[in-house]
């Protein structure tokens, strides 16, 4: 039982990171129907910004987190303006391939500048390095910080989406872009806001993963990015609560598979779940199936 609970705690920590990244995928998909392959690399860039802040500028966790979020926000918006916006009315496959191109560019561009070698986050000190045991389950301070940060960011996101003008505009545009435009909503601006928020969350996830796993590299985004996307699909793509639920479910399943001694199969299990979900309930756990109108 203790072992299971321990795995659960680890799963929730990993799931938090997936959930944060999944939110960006789902928001962007909801608003422009694009699987933003570059999103996972924004997460990677976030990890690097956090690394440079902590290592070279000597900033603490929280300032580094904020700088990384800000940096990723700018990067996400830039990518959207430069690469995606000109293709707004193009075929969706063109947009998707552009996203793949941007993803490769970020990965190998980063590799060109910082080389492919692993970087190690500075060791945490003081309170952050502590851990405690509750009923036989060890919880590290890092895990607490990860879950806490995630919860705060998610609450913030819920607030923005539900109660602010920008959030309402986002929901309107994701339902019907043309109608929203006719109602006087600045669609381009709203799309930028969506990218900004999604990218900031990914940046935060990048720093958290750096703190949690210590090592980072330019290709670190690829596989977790795919899994975060799986999480988004699992919960119902385009749905913000879906991404949160999906992130935690995928994180916990992955940790349980590893705990059961099948760690080499963990990616396969996640993708098998993806395919099953797509076949059985393509709209995802929280989504509704919609047919094509003839």
């Amino acid at each position: 039982m203790d072992v299971f609970l321990q795995q659960l705690v680890n799963g929730i920590s990993l799931g938090s990171i997936y959930a944060l990244v999944a939110l960006g995928y789902t928001m962007v998909y909801g608003i422009i129907k694009l699987i933003n392959f570059a999103h996972c690399d924004i997460y990677m860039i976030g990890a690097y910004i956090g690394y440079f802040c902590m290592t070279f500028l000597g900033l603490g966790f929280l300032p580094s987190l904020l700088v990384a979020m800000l940096g990723c926000m700018v990067l996400g918006v830039l990518i959207e303006k430069i690469a995606y916006k000109p293709l707004r009315n193009a075929a969706r496959i063109s947009l998707l391939i552009t996203a793949i191109g941007m993803s490769l560019f970020l990965e190998y561009g980063t590799m060109f500048f910082v080389t492919a070698k692993l970087r190690t986050y500075p060791a945490l000190e003081g309170l952050m390095a502590k851990s405690f045991t509750v009923g036989g389950v060890m919880i590290t301070m890092q895990q607490v910080v990860i879950v806490l940060t995630t919860v705060v960011l998610m609450l913030g996101l819920q607030y923005i989406v539900k109660y602010t003008r920008a959030g309402k505009a986002m929901r309107a545009v994701s339902m019907d872009k043309d109608a929203a435009e006719l109602m006087g909503i600045d669609v381009n601006n709203t799309i930028s806001v969506t990218f900004a928020i999604g990218s900031a969350l990914a940046g935060a996830a990048g720093v958290l993963v750096g703190v949690y796993y210590n090592t980072i590299n330019p290709l670190m985004g690829a596989v977790p990015g795919l899994k975060a996307f799986v999480a988004a699909v699992f919960g119902g793509i385009g749905l913000i609560p879906g991404a949160m639920v999906g992130g935690y479910v995928i994180g916990i399943i992955e940790v349980l598979v590893m705990g059961a001694g099948y760690s080499t199969y963990r990616d396969a299990v996640v993708f098998a779940i993806l395919i099953l979900i797509l076949i059985l309930k393509p709209a995802g756990l929280l989504g509704k199936n919609v047919g094509e109108k003839v």
């Binding site: 129907k33 699987i35 690469a83 000109p86 293709l87 009315n89 193009a90 075929a91 969706r92 496959i93 063109s94 947009l95 998707l96 391939i97 552009t98 793949i100 191109g101 941007m102 993803s103 490769l104 560019f105 990965e107 190998y108 561009g109 590799m111 060109f112 690829a222 795919l226 996307f229 799986v230 699909v233 080499t264 199969y265 990616d267 396969a268 993708f271 098998a272 993806l274 395919i275 797509l278 076949i279 393509p282 094509e292 003839v294």
Partner: protein
């Protein structure tokens, strides 16, 4: 008219075949350039077979490398056990058939999905295949298989590449091939006009998988080394890039793009750190400035037969919204 076209094609093919032999005999093509040639041939097969699925039938697949890996491993395992050309022929056929079979098994449930969802499902399928190869004993896990016997010479390379092109072109110029294209154009209309769209989607998908398997088998029998990581997501993307650059729905476009990208890639190998950066920027640039690719959905032969103005007319690309 039709015979004349066939004869021209035949003459052209024989010409290429003879030219290859001459260049090899005179030493213009050395071992290094033959490796480039072999890669090009393999990429032509991969790209045209993916084009059948994605460009012609409109089913967006991101898992072509998975089918390639099945062909490669099955062929490698057979050639390790059955000696000589018999083993190779058996290996190619078995590898390709295994890939096609997996194509049917994966295609039947997933091809109901549309656009992005299918893309993600095929991506997941390829990753699962890769993880399975990583964990199997017969494939020697992550270390992979090495010292595989080499069979692919110019004769085999030419035969298999040209053979794939001829068969795919034949298929697309037949009623079942047109049925596949109608699925891309409008699935509901096709179904109402008597086309069993599921059947033709699965046909195109497994046929694409078959030829990807052939390409994989050739890879295994030329580069005599295999490991699962060769067939990751990036490999599927490499193939997709060729298809998109050449033009979705153009076989000759895929051939030209495969050759072109191989030349660029060979040239870029002098700057390995920058290779992928330039490659990725090119991809974005193509999408921004010529989303329909080099040839759109036309073939070189159509262009040459007095339709030259269309090359500059800019069609395709944007029209195929429903295909994805």
């Amino acid at each position: 008219m039709k015979n004349k076209k066939t004869l021209t094609t035949l003459a052209l093919m024989l010409g290429v075949y003879a030219l290859g032999h001459i260049l090899i005999l005179t030493g213009v093509i050395n071992d290094y350039s033959f490796a480039v040639l072999a890669t090009t041939g393999i990429n032509i097969i991969l790209a045209t077979s993916l084009n059948l699925v994605t460009g012609f039938t409109g089913q967006f697949s991101l898992g072509h490398a998975g089918f390639m890996s099945i062909g490669a491993y099955v062929c490698a395992i057979i050639t390790q056990r059955v000696e000589g050309t018999v083993g190779f022929v058996l290996g190619v056929l078995a590898g390709a058939s295994a890939a096609a079979l997996v194509g049917v098994l994966v295609g039947l449930p997933t091809l109901r999905l549309r656009g992005d969802y299918l893309a993600i499902a095929t991506l997941g399928m390829a990753e699962i295949i890769r993880v399975l190869f990583l964990n199997m004993e017969i494939t020697n896990g992550a270390a992979g298989l090495s010292f595989l016997p080499r069979f692919v010479d110019w004769n085999w390379l030419f035969l298999l590449t040209a053979g794939t092109l001829v068969l795919l072109s034949n298929f697309l110029h037949s009623s079942p091939g047109r049925a596949c294209i109608s699925v891309r154009e409008d699935e509901i209309a096709a179904e109402s006009m008597g086309i069993n769209t599921t059947k033709y989607k699965v046909t195109a998908f497994s046929m694409g998988a078959f030829f990807a398997g052939v390409a994989g088998a050739m890879y295994a029998s030329y580069f005599y080394f295999l490991k699962p990581d060769l067939f990751n997501f990036n490999k599927s993307i490499d193939i997709l890039v060729i298809v998109v650059l050449g033009g979705m729905g153009s076989l000759s476009g895929s051939v030209i793009a495969a050759v072109l990208l191989q030349l660029i890639s060979t040239w870029l190998s002098a700057f390995p750190e920058l290779r992928m950066v330039i490659y990725s920027l090119m991809l974005v640039a193509i999408m921004l400035f010529r989303p329909q690719g080099l040839l759109g959905s036309t073939e070189v032969t159509e262009l040459l037969s007095a339709k030259l103005p269309q090359l500059f007319g800019g069609k395709g690309g944007q029209k195929k919204e429903e295909g994805v």
